[in-house]
Amino acid sequence: MEKRSFWRKFRTEYIGKGYATFCGLLLVALTLAIIFFVASKGIRTFTHDHYSIVDFLFSSKWQPDATKPLLGTAFFIVGSVIVSLGAVIISAPISIGLAIFMNLISPKLGRKVLQPALELFVGIPSVVYGWVGVIVLVPFIKRCFGGMGFSLMAGMIVLSIMILPTIASLASDAIKTIPHDYIEASYGLGATRWQTIYKVVVPACKNGILTGIVLGLARAMGEALAVQMVIGNSFKFVAGLTKPTITLTSILTMSMANTADGTPANDALWSLALLLLLISFMFIIIIRLIGRRGER
């Protein structure tokens, strides 16, 4: 057979392979660039302004514009953690129930109604969730529980709806991977459908469900505008379900434009962005660990 010349091979193979490889590497470069740039700004609070990391994370004195700025961010962090955990606690049981229903109880309704419904839930923009929260949920909470209405509870409820499709679709994927033999065997032994679900199905896919929950938590932590619109944004620790509080992402969206580049206040905001980045890393590592446990 005649050997192809280099030029011909270049045209028919190398150029395409080169392009595809370039795109793959571009994603790596982009990820590293994001980490590098956010980190290089984020560590300025500690390297340039010589603020202590312990004070930054655990103090709650936030006076960034004072002559001797105080940059304690504890209540942003606590606010984010509580509102996200609350959202997951509301959302996880419902999502898992949905996933079970879609796969084991009525696959037809699941495919025709619930699957498209979940896709729409994903598609609805977060500002729309936020806005509906402001005009429906907030007045409702105000009427039932008094207070402002803008509250931790409003944030949790809005977030729980937003992360529902994430948890439900991952749990559903996990249920799909269970060998059908398990279920048949359980039925064969005389178990009812519910016994099969909670004795066989749920234990068999607990890693998948856990992954869904962690991803939901990650999404809740990073969500910015919807939460900011309903949570009230008071610079205080969480005081109760119906009291306003503030999150990491809220302070970033609200204050970034109001601080001058290079000031301690601005640096502190970048440190919070870096913190968000590190939190999302942490979640990826947790998900990988869960996955590895599943392989064993």
Partner: protein, 294 residues
């Protein structure tokens, strides 16, 4: 109580949960569209927004949303498909591929506000462009790329399983196989992915607050320059999208009918999301039928 009663109770409870979710969705979408119905007219959709009096529209914001989506897709689609090809066909199993996957996972899980701040730092400040459409589009592209790469990878892997060996056996190179055989049959799935992603980024706001800004200059629609600040098609002008507009109305709305505009804009956004979803399904089905010869 015996096992059978429990089984019945559980079944009923799961039915109720599922129905509640569907009711919630229908109620949510119905509520927004019903309350925003007054705004669904040409005057509101194309009119300029007014600063200090009622009756303004969302024309520029709507245009900005579409234009920015278009620009960001021009950036995302070729790179996303290229990366998908690499991941599915050229990448060798091993450390490097694992690392690339880790990077994609990392990018996919970044909060969009962090992407926006990265955009502020690099596309706005370091380039000295200030708030621009291009910066906004690049930020959206960063958000969209991981899912684009993943969708392409899955589509290409699925499409290549049967035909690849045959094509290579006929003497074509790997790239020729990908370009002429695999990509065309992976296209329906990729296209569905693109449209769904488009629906998602259409409503993106957090990443745009600090990249494309929260204002739109006065536009002259006869000007089609890509760089002139007056031109609606300029890549180098600030642009407030519809989603950002809603956020801004809520946080600092000075217009007397801010609430009405925000509800109307929400209705428009939700209708767009519905359209994108139906379109994705429709095109997916059509192309699937065309390619599978039915």
């Amino acid at each position: 109580m015996n096992a059978k009663t429990w089984d019945k109770i559980a079944t009923v409870v799961l039915y109720i949960i599922s129905m509640l979710i569907v009711v919630l969705l229908v109620g949510f979408i119905g509520y927004i569209i019903y309350n925003g119905r007054d705004s669904l007219n040409l005057h509101f959709l194309t009119g300029d927004s007014l600063v200090d009096q009622a009756g303004g529209g969302i024309g520029p914001q709507l245009f900005n949303s579409f234009y920015m989506l278009f620009i960001s897709l021009i950036i995302t689609v070729p790179i996303g498909i290229g990366a998908g090809i690499y991941l599915s066909q050229y990448g060798k199993q091993g450390k490097i591929l694992d690392f690339i996957r880790l990077c994609i996972e990392t990018m996919a899980s970044l909060p969009s506000i962090v992407v926006g701040l990265f955009g502020l730092l690099v596309f706005v400040n370091m380039t000295h462009w200030q708030y621009t459409i291009l910066a906004g589009s690049l930020a959206i592209a960063v958000i969209n790329l991981p899912s684009m790469a993943r969708v392409s990878e899955n589509a290409i892997t699925a499409a290549s399983s049967k035909v690849k060996e045959a094509s290579l056996g006929l003497g074509s190179t790997e790239w020729q196989t990908i370009k002429k055989v695999i990509l065309p049959s992976a296209m329906p799935q990729i296209l569905t992915g693109i449209i769904l992603a488009a629906g998602r980024v259409f409503g993106e706001a957090a990443a745009l607050l600090y990249t494309s800004g929260m204002s739109t200059p006065a536009l002259n629609y006869n000007n089609i320059s890509l760089t002139n600040k007056m031109s609606p098609f300029s890549l180098f002008r600030p642009a407030e999208t519809l989603a950002v507009h809603i956020w801004k109305l809520n946080s600092e709305g000075m217009v007397p009918d801010a609430s009405k505009i925000a509800t109307g804009s929400s209705a428009v956004l939700v209708i767009m999301v519905l359209l994108f979803n139906f379109l994705a399904r429709f095109i997916g089905n059509k192309l699937y039928k065309a390619y599978s010869g039915k």
